[in-house]
């Protein structure tokens, strides 16, 4: 019987097949385990008008007035960051990187993220306001540089309600996506994530292989407060500045915003006295049919 020799020389003395398979699978397990432990999570956070602010449309109808208005991190992005932090704390990831795209004040949003517990930040500085496809292209470039095992985003931003960026990032990268997540469970051995999604009909459970893109919904978790010791620690965490040119992204957009107006003011309701009157109003006033 051949005595199995070590695989180092890779020469003629091959061990018997059973040992080889065992060794290979052991190596693969160790490799994937290592990958898992070294896994990075990228979280995209957006700086938006604070949810409590009553917004006004600018008189020139080019957009919403953001001068002297309180800005903060998009609530769904906070939930995304919280989930990433919990995954890191559970030992499934090594690093949480927060990224924000926008003007210089985005650094404040990143600092909030660092104060919550992110390890470092990336600020892609630009004064243009990009639509989801451009953002997705930027995030794709970043993902190719950073090689995260997971990308977390909020399901949508509360200023434009697009609900597109996460899906577009996944498509551009060719990665699986699980959107509207209300529960995320990682499986260390199988290198997959089991995600409960909130859909119109109820809850759908998906199993996605990593690396993947997950977008977060309201009931996934309750984000933590930034405590004072963490705010102090965040001061020394690095924020890397980049530009769209650094990432070689084409920012030309096919979409142009023509006009932004307020919705018509809600009229008070009307009591109808009969079904006929209801049908008449539905047909002739509301033009429902």
């Amino acid at each position: 019987m051949n005595t199995p020799s070590l695989f180092i020389s890779g020469g003629l003395n091959l061990p018997p097949p059973e040992i080889k398979i065992c060794f290979c699978s052991l190596f693969f397990y160790f490799f994937s385990f290592c990958c898992y432990r070294a896994m990075k999570i990228l979280v995209a956070v957006k700086r938006v008008v604070d949810y409590a602010v009553k917004i006004r449309v600018k008189p020139d109808k080019t957009g919403v007035d953001t001068q002297n208005v309180k800005m903060s991190m998009n609530p769904f992005c906070e939930i995304a960051l919280e989930e990433a932090l919990r995954i890191r704390e559970a030992g499934f990831a090594k690093e949480v990187v927060a990224v924000s795209i926008g003007p210089s004040q985005c650094v404040d949003t990143l600092r909030t993220g660092l104060a919550m517990g992110a390890d470092r930040g990336i600020h892609v500085e630009t004064n243009s306001s990009f639509l989801p496809l451009t953002i997705a292209k930027i995030l794709k470039s970043l993902a190719e540089v950073e090689n995260p095992g997971l990308i977390f985003l909020g399901k949508q931003a509360i200023d434009d309600d697009c609900n597109q960026t996460g899906q577009m990032v996944a498509a551009l990268l060719g990665w699986p996506q699980a959107t509207f997540a209300s529960k995320v469970v990682l499986d260390k051995d199988k290198h997959v994530a089991t995600v409960d999604r909130e859909v119109d009909g109820g809850l759908e459970t998906l199993c996605v292989e990593l690396p993947a893109v997950i977008t977060t919904d309201l009931r996934l978790n309750q984000p933590r407060y930034a405590s004072l010791p963490n705010i102090m620690k965040a001061k020394s965490k690095p924020i890397k500045k980049m530009t769209v040119q650094d990432l070689k992204v084409d920012v030309k957009s096919d979409i142009e915003i023509l006009e932004v107006t307020e919705p018509p003011k809600r009229k008070s309701g009307v009591m109808v006295s009969s079904v006929d009157e209801l049908i008449d109003k539905l047909r002739n006033e509301a033009h429902v049919f």
Binding site: P75, A115, Y225, I231, M232
Partner: protein, 409 residues
Amino acid sequence: MQRFFAARSILGNAVKTRRSSFSSLSSSLLFDDTQLQFKESVSKFAQDVIAPHAERTDKTNSFPKDVNLWKQMGEFNLHGITAPEEYGGLGLGYLYHCIAMEEISRASGSVALSYGAHSNLCINQLVRNGTTAQKQKYLPKLISGEHVGALAMSEPNAGSDVVSMKCKADKVDGGYIINGNKMWCTNGPSAETLIVYAKTDTKAGSKGITAFIIEKGMDGFSTAQKLDKLGMRGSDTCELVFENCFVPEENILDKEGKGVYVLMSGLDLERLVLAAGPLGIMQACLDTVLPYIRQREQFGRPIGELQFIQGKVADMYTALQSSRSYVYSVARDCDNGNIDPKDCAGTILCAAERATQVALQAIQCLGGNGYINEYATGRLLRDAKLYEIGAGTSEIRRIVIGRGLFKEQ
């Protein structure tokens, strides 16, 4: 456009977040980025965790029982802001402590007063005057929120004239026996650790006062009935009774006969930190009034368009901003080591008297509704009034400043 109300607590409570946007106007003048971040964070915490209990605390005259606010504030590292890190504190200064105090006061005046008594009157006095052994014994649990702290100097017959206190501490073998009463002790009913001043030498006047650390459960120490106060209801206050209470030698704070220095120097910082209390109340008044005047219509338009109302609101705003500037400038000065008793007294004198006026105007802006207890303005007035009395009455503060100015060359 749809806006999602992604509140931190999604239990479906109808918490109307009263986060106003004008705090960003004043803050950029007074605070740096880190302090602003801290203010934001404490504000969110206070509005989510403390504010929902404010009304019920006032109505029932008891500190919230179904949640452990002491522990939650401890987990948020709010108690030991000025305490060294080795005991669980943050090792920061009075500026941060004032920021925390203001935001908690904005959420609930009663909770803030109890918090101030615990974190400044008790914890900070231990930090400044305690021995290493005393700090190691008492600070960790106080800072985590497991234990509650208090301080007692006033007596039924010794308020402003606190030095004339009659509470006696007779020297015996191994310690002292304390006899007497203390009045108006905030947190008295629930405190595990109390700093109490007593006379070790009744003939030496002020030089005969000594500060002691009392523990709940000590033989001879008991608390009498909870006081039924006009405002700050829920910040449990009571009378302390000492009947042959034995206190061991090692429980003296600083040295025998040096109590008056502990007392007086502690009062300066107490006044500074508590001065942030009326700031929070004034902010809470504006938080209530501004949405109301935008909404309430009379004579066919929002009352906020009427000049008289605009005048009142302008006065409220400038009173708040000017008091704020004073308090935080003095806090910064104290952090740099310049503690001036005149300015410390000045901050609370100024802030407290203005807060009462601002609260009165807040009631007036709400008109008939301001007179209904369903609205917060009545409670804000009753809470504000306390700050003109506690930590030295306005009259005493004026004497401190006037006498100080007179003595200066």
